[in-house]
Amino acid sequence: MAQKFTATLTAGLWKRIPPFRLVLGLCPSLAVTMSAENGMGMGLATAFVLILSNGAISSLRNIIPSKVRIASYIVIIATLVSIVEILMKAYFFPLSEQLGIYIPLIVVNCIVLGRAEGFASKNPPFISMVDGLSVGTGYAISLTLIGSVREILGAGSWFGMPVFGETFEPMAFLVSAPGAFVTIGTLLALQNLFSRWRGEKFIQG
């Protein structure tokens, strides 16, 4: 039990880290990581939804008939996302304006549904919530990282604070859409190279 707990807790941070290792949930990773702050806000919102949806779905896993399980999961996830949206509007209004449509779109984020189907529907509530916490934290870290790279190189600031002097000429293309693909691709390649160097077995391709 204890071993499974640690394994689940750390899996989301490296072995299963989204979006790099799972390569799921790429749409928000590409769209909202213009700045570190946006990436972190999106990541934390997703993590919050993931923990609660995993917990709820796992506690209901023996009650929900398997034929309507996807419909039930979606209803639960959509409710949690709407609550997150209301909370964000009430407490972090500027952030919710910036993230816009991507907050409601967490409902169809493959990571949330994927963890519900792949983990929470087969495991007891506590360990499922640990899984949600670990995968959610991994996602938040990844998005913050992508956002930081794009913001530092593309706008010359980090969390809104300028990091380089006045003379720095930012690579503005990194904060536009193509920059997102380039950044995620590069980070994915670096991670795979590192895994290969360490001789780990779970490299894709």
Binding site: I64, P65, K67, S72, V75, I83, K89, P94
Partner: protein
């Protein structure tokens, strides 16, 4: 219990529970959301209109309930008496949908102090130029007694070139606000004095 009934019952129970949770969240946080919307969406427009920080005027808000819609009205005071009103109005028929504008009215001199755009979805470079001061400044000092009109309709407002639809929507919204204030002036002042008593 047959399989079908079980599916229906479980799904309805989940849906019912979820709607209850959402309703609770909406009721609990609704006022907070409204406050934040006022601060970030209407705040900048009010700041420019009244020339005061948004925090000072946001509390001065009454909502007039009409049959079709609720109209938010903001106000400022000069020596106890209500001096200026800012009435929110919908400019129907913009190019990319309805405009939401705020019309400032000086009650003593019965003239407009300006027009501000709260939100719009017009074309950048054309209709979106409605936000520019050169267009909005034409509202300053106009009498509230008569409806305003574009120059092509014999009025005084020069339309933004290439965006007469947007300009027309702003003018229509303003006229709606003027009619509203003329018809409901007593009601507005009554709500404001009631607000004063409460606080």
């Amino acid at each position: 219990m047959s399989e079908i009934t079980r599916m229906v019952v479980v799904l309805s129970l989940i849906a019912g529970f979820c709607s209850a949770a959402l309703t609770a969240a909406n009721i609990q946080l609704g006022p907070l959301v409204d406050k934040q919307t006022d601060l970030y969406v209407r705040g900048p427009a009010l700041e420019r209109l009244f020339g005061k920080p948004a925090g000072e005027v946001l509390g001065n808000k009454v909502i007039i309930h009409l049959a079709e819609q609720d109209i938010p009205v903001f106000f400022t005071r000069a020596e106890q008496a209500v001096s200026t009103l800012a009435v929110e109005a919908i400019g129907r028929g913009g190019f990319g949908g309805d405009l939401k504008i705020m019309v400032g009215i000086d009650l003593a001199s019965e003239r407009m102090i300006g027009m501000e755009v709260v939100s719009h979805s017009e074309t950048p470079g054309l209709g979106a130029r409605i936000e520019e001061i050169t267009f909005r400044r034409q509202w300053q000092g106009l009498s509230t007694g008569d409806p305003i009109a574009l120059t092509k309709d014999g009025g005084t407002i020069d339309a933004i070139s290439g965006a007469s639809t947007t300009s027309g929507a702003a003018v229509r919204g303003t006229n709606e606000a003027l009619v509203f204030v003329r018809d409901h002036r007593d009601e507005i002042l009554k709500s404001i004095s009631e607000l004063q008593k409460d606080s």
